[in-house]
Symmetry: none
Subunit: 229 residues, 2 copies
Amino acid sequence: MTTAPATRILVVDDEPQIRSALDVNLRARGYAVDLAVSGEDALHRAAAHHPDLVLLDLGLPGIDGLEVVRGLRGWTAVPIIVLSVREAEADKVAALDAGADDYVTKPFGMNELLARLRATLRRHQPGPGQPVVRTDDFVIDLEAKRVVRGDVDVHLTPTEWAVVEYLVRHPGRLVTQRQLLQHVWGPQYESETNYLRVHLAAIRKKLEPNPSQPRYLITEAGMGYRFEL
Amino acid sequence: MTTAPATRILVVDDEPQIRSALDVNLRARGYAVDLAVSGEDALHRAAAHHPDLVLLDLGLPGIDGLEVVRGLRGWTAVPIIVLSVREAEADKVAALDAGADDYVTKPFGMNELLARLRATLRRHQPGPGQPVVRTDDFVIDLEAKRVVRGDVDVHLTPTEWAVVEYLVRHPGRLVTQRQLLQHVWGPQYESETNYLRVHLAAIRKKLEPNPSQPRYLITEAGMGYRFEL
DNA sequence: CCTTGGCGTCAAGAAGTCGCTAAGACGCGC
DNA sequence: GCGCGTCTTAGCGACTTCTTGACGCCAAGG
């Protein structure tokens, strides 16, 4: 029997006690743990090791935890669970808005944390990780970066692919214009919604059975887009 | 069987009769009660004993009850239920704006008080933050920014969503008009309650089974709104 | 019994957003 | 330097969403 590679978790916290408590408990459950002590450290380690999940304390010295969330979301959809003290209610909402997946309030029970961690991982690995998304009208192979409609290949330009991939990797979920822009074009883009309009139109023309009445790539006016299975 | 440690309640009131009435009734229900006779006393005792809930009379000699709320919120998110006489309407709103969780008007029925107390404790227990909120009539997915009623999607506009999200993220708690306005429209808005009326009406039409007799989005006249699970 | 204040409702106009098209700019391989 | 695919930019009508004001209702208080 081959052993599945361990799930890699990046723990970001400046308090040594919490760091080592998490380290011990996670290792005991068979996770591979990477530790970061600051926001900068976290961003570097994430870029270097591509963890499967990030456990992020919001109250960091230096770079704010919120900035770390944004920094990560600029290029990756890795699930992020935020830790914060109860007072920082507004920060938690802001973190979720910035793209965090869940949050746990300190002080937390280790069991609750582990449960949320498993739930978040489960959500982000739909079953035995199927890199292929099927609809009635087309098939998207995320691994091979191919789209087939009927029985012919559909060619997507790089930008179109980036948009489609991001939407498809968050099925059913509302993706804000900011999220899409920053993921596809870069962190400094946030208000160029005309890019999205043009490229979405092009994508719909290629994928939707009836581009003028989209069934899969839904616009939510004033908010963003949603990929409907 | 291990005995759960008693829930600790800090009672703050300068009137001896009310203090002892609360003391007796709360002890009879198995709560551990700590008594404070003034605002200063309350702040000291809260810092020393970390109560699980604070019952705070607004009409205190010396430090105002409002200041006590602010003082507590500076470092703890302990639930606060405010007691006040009916006349002090403005004080109640101010206390809620400062971060109190609920209020009870004096003279109060002991049963009502106990019910609110249990409700407040209950919702502070399991940590907030489920990304999905269910009621008998609809499901709100905070993560996906999606609302389903029965089995059809309900479409919310950006403003409607912002209002619903804020209320739902503070379930059971009385949210003042100010809080909603400033969170949704921005800091400079505080008295445009007509916005709230119009948008709440639209939301109720979409979510409530009987919009003219709301079950979930409750209006508290003169104060604000409450999302009741 | 009447006034007052807060709320719900409705409708119309204002403001904002989106889809679509087409033209110009860019970058890469040849 | 040329051509091709691709991306950016601009503009317009259509549509969605927000704001605003008027009106009626109800409860509290004089």
